[in-house]
């Protein structure tokens, strides 16, 4: 019973390794993961959805082929390799972005909420805010590749289906600009499967991106649970998985609610 009631009261047990309550320990890790996952999802959605739409719009054009080949590569790319390559080329060769971490170690961010983008703004440190963004780009990109590819492919196929329907032909026949036909009429109707995929992928990213976290020195929840597994720290493993499962369910709930907002035919009573 304690196992069931404890978590509701915020008691997630005590770590065997460090002897401190998991509910206290898990917070910073979770926040680090959420920040990274959100950025990754923003990158994945913006690029993935647009690539999918344009591919469907200009089906069988060079853009379509290139985008879908890139999506295929993105889907099958080993993340650790991609991450190391990003570091090597973008940060070391081109000297554009930092390789690891969440902030400049020599000028660390004072953690308040644990979401550094918010913390830096709360502290009024705009320079640190940009520093944090710079640190987010590479791991965000690495983490975004797989969801981006999945979203692009899903958007494309869903859009293709919609664009063959009669109301699209009508819209075009009445002389509407193609851009609005695609982005307004077609996309809205193609959105449901895309939103589903986005929801599932967000849940997966929150579940921990162990490889990305390891390579980019990101203190996230994936690493936290992975370490716990290696040291047989059962309370941490259990509670960590519980928290992730909870988030996963919540995201899916949000997705279900979004259906109603997207499609007026769907109503929850």
């Amino acid at each position: 019973m304690g196992l069931l009631i404890g978590p509701v009261k915020g008691d997630l047990g005590v770590s065997l390794k460090t002897n401190s309550p998991v509910s206290e320990e898990i917070g910073p890790y979770l926040m680090a993961t959420i920040e990274l996952a959100l950025i990754a999802m923003i990158i994945a959605v913006v690029i993935g959805v647009n690539a999918g739409i344009i591919s469907a719009w200009f089906q069988n054009s060079w853009f379509d082929y290139v985008a879908m080949v890139i999506a295929l590569i993105g889907l099958s790319m080993p993340i650790f390799w991609l991450g190391l390559m990003e570091q090597y080329i973008i940060s070391i060769q081109w000297d554009l972005l930092p390789t690891t971490g969440r902030d400049n170690i020599r000028d660390p961010v004072e953690a308040i909420t644990g979401l550094y983008l918010i913390d830096t703004l709360m502290a009024g440190r705009v320079d640190q805010f940009f520093e944090v963004i710079k640190h987010l780009i590479l791991p965000g990109l690495a983490l975004a590749t797989i969801p981006m590819a999945i979203i692009a492919r899903m958007t494309r196929s869903s859009m293709l289906e919609v664009m063959r329907s009669d109301f699209i032909r009508t819209a075009r026949a009445k002389g509407m600009k193609m851009f609005w036909v695609v982005y307004k009429h077609s996309f809205k109707n193609a959105l449901i499967p895309v939103v589903t995929v986005i929801g599932l992928q967000t849940g997966l990213l929150l579940g921990g991106a162990i490889l990305t976290e390891n390579i980019f020195g990101w203190p996230g929840i994936g690493t936290y649970i992975y370490d716990a597994i290696l040291s047989r720290d059962y309370p941490v493993i259990q509670s960590g998985i519980l928290v992730i499962a909870f988030l996963f369910v919540m995201i899916n709930l949000v997705v279900d609610l979004l259906y109603a907002a997207i499609d007026p035919r769907i109503k929850y009573k």
Partner: protein, 538 residues
């Protein structure tokens, strides 16, 4: 339509340029600001490591990732030499040992304060030892239990009493002599913590530690960074040279190196041997080599024929080309071994001359043993990479090939790791590959643990029993005089070398990389050291 696309692309490009532009300018300002201050002070060193600390109370942790941090915050009564395990004064400036080696009297340095402002004195030492000995909690104070034979009241407990004679004198009375007693005291885990802090913080002491060390604890972001800052009241004048150290966790070895190349971290451990050329090829970086504290070996079960014959063991010792093994499987990050313990451990006998690689000599010896036509044997190889043996299977294959030259057919055998150890302990292997990493840097921890007849059925997997060696090792255990002990261990190594129960293969050398601005850093064989003498210079 193309216009929209073009507009979109231009927008993205403009945004990224703006972002890159403004952020790089801020970072430049930062560096300039820091550069100016680092000359005046000492700068903050960023140390990249592979895992987060478990805790910062040295008494309750057992892992190297914790000790590298606690070594900055805490100090021990006696300490190891800079790159060996010779005993040097630490918080104790001198000590005397009674003739029966059962009483150690330490004279403590005076005027030292803990970071929380309380005094370091004999009482503090006594309280620390009482905390460990009276805890009777093997889960928490695991190292204490294993190095000092349990806790107060246990029959095997080594320390009978710790007494404060006066404010700066502590007397340890032992139940029985323990030769590596001083070396044990130098282990990072037996550092003296502030009794006040322990009392006040309770279980949280491990998150808010207070010792006498050159650096004070500042902050800990779990899984990310630990910051320590200069202790301005440190008892050694002019030290530490740094203003602070930040320990940053980057798990992946290659990613950690990328961060070092980029200059985000100043020093890193766990360099992949295959990445060494990247460091040597970079004019801003340098390699640091940690002296070895381990030995990887190939051993015979001396109870099983034909390895009960000394000549056969010696013959095989002549057949193994250690240099080739090191070049091929260690990327040259190891030194050939000739004794069962590494040179960094005091008592190492450098006069022993290794068996040279000589097939003809081997044939001669085999002929003497009546085995000139060769024989069949089992060669056990470990299934997992170990610090002293990155690829046991491959090394076994190399040995197999060498043995073939004289007609010995070796059949490579392997089991899952836990089963492998169990079967070795039971003496089932005919010949096998193994290794050992030292606990406290004492010769006893190698020679007695691995090759004394008392430990057959435990860690003496070769089942080697020699009464003369046993006598020497036991005598060394009850002698407190270091010079005398080293002499005894030297003799034991000569006998072991002649009898050749093992072919010591290598002592592997862990590699570290750092910026060329890092000065005064000497990696210690135990894996953790104080960075009190390190500085950053341009």
């Amino acid at each position: 339509m193309k216009k929209t696309l073009a507009l979109l692309l231009t927008g993205i490009l403009a945004l990224s340029l703006a972002l890159a532009g403004c952020s790089s300018s801020t970072s430049k300002e930062k560096e300039d600001g820091k550069g100016g201050s680092s000359e005046a002070k000492g700068g903050v060193l960023i140390y990249g490591k592979g895992g987060d600390a478990v805790g910062l109370d040295p008494a309750i942790v057992t892992d190297g990732e914790s000790f590298i941090v606690t070594q900055q915050i805490f100090e021990t009564l006696v300490k190891y030499g800079e790159d060996d395990t010779e005993i040097k004064p630490g918080l104790a400036e001198s000590w005397e040992v009674s003739d029966d080696a059962k009483t150690y009297t330490f004279k403590l340095k005076t005027g030292i304060k803990f970071h929380d402002g309380t005094d370091f004195n004999a009482d503090a030492v006594v309280k620390n030892f009482q905390r460990w000995a009276q805890s009777k909690d093997e889960g928490r104070f695991a190292y204490y239990a294993s190095m000092f034979g349990g806790f107060e009241g246990d029959e095997s407990h080594v320390i009978k009493e710790v007494k404060a004679v006066d404010a700066s004198t502590v007397e340890f009375t032992l139940n029985r002599p323990q030769a590596p007693f001083l070396k044990n005291l130098a282990m990072p885990t037996f550092a003296i913590a502030s009794p006040d802090g322990i009392e006040k913080e309770g279980d949280d002491f491990t998150k808010n530690p207070s010792g006498t060390g050159p650096f004070k604890f500042k902050s800990w972001k779990p899984g990310d960074t630990i910051e320590v800052v200069k202790n301005d009241d440190y008892w050694q004048d002019g030290l530490p040279k740094l203003d602070g150290i930040t320990f940053k966790v980057i798990k992946d070895n290659s990613a950690r190196l990328n961060a070092a190349i980029k200059g985000e971290i100043d020093l890193m451990d766990g360099l992949n041997p295959s990445d060494i050329s990247k460091v040597t090829g970079d004019e801003k970086l340098q390699i640091f080599e940690r002296a070895s504290m381990n030995v990887g070996y190939f051993a015979f079960n001396v109870e099983k024929a034909p390895f009960d014959k000394k000549e056969v063991r010696q013959a095989i010792s002549h057949l193994i080309n250690k240099k080739e093994i090191i070049d091929n499987f260690y990327e040259s990050t190891a030194e050939p071994a000739k004794n069962p313990m590494p040179p960094s451990v005091s008592g190492y006998n450098d006069k022993v001359e290794d068996y040279d690689y000589d097939v003809e000599k081997a044939k001669e010896l085999l002929k003497k043993a009546g085995l000139e036509d060769g024989f069949k044997m089992d060669l056990w190889a470990m299934p997992v990479p170990r610090p002293y043996m990155p690829d046991g299977q491959k090394v076994a294959e190399a040995i197999q090939a060498s043995l073939k030259q004289v007609g010995i057919e070796a059949n490579i055998v392997s089991y899952e790791w836990a089963a492998y150890l169990e079967k070795l302990q039971a003496g089932e292997a005919q010949s096998f590959m193994m290794g050992w990493t030292g606990d406290n840097g004492d010769a006893d921890n190698f020679l007695y643990t691995l090759l004394d007849k008392d430990n057959i059925g435990s860690n003496n997997y070769a089942r080697y029993a020699n009464d003369e060696v046993h006598k020497l090792l036991i005598e060394a255990q009850s002698t407190a005089d270091e010079a005398k002990r080293n002499e005894l261990y030297g003799k034991a190594q000569e006998i072991i070398h002649d009898e050749a129960p093992w072919v010591p293969l290598v002592h592997s050398l862990p590699q570290l990389a750092g910026s060329k601005t890092v000065k005064g850093f000497v990696p210690h064989p135990t894996g953790s050291q104080s960075l009190v003498n390190v500085s950053l210079e341009n």
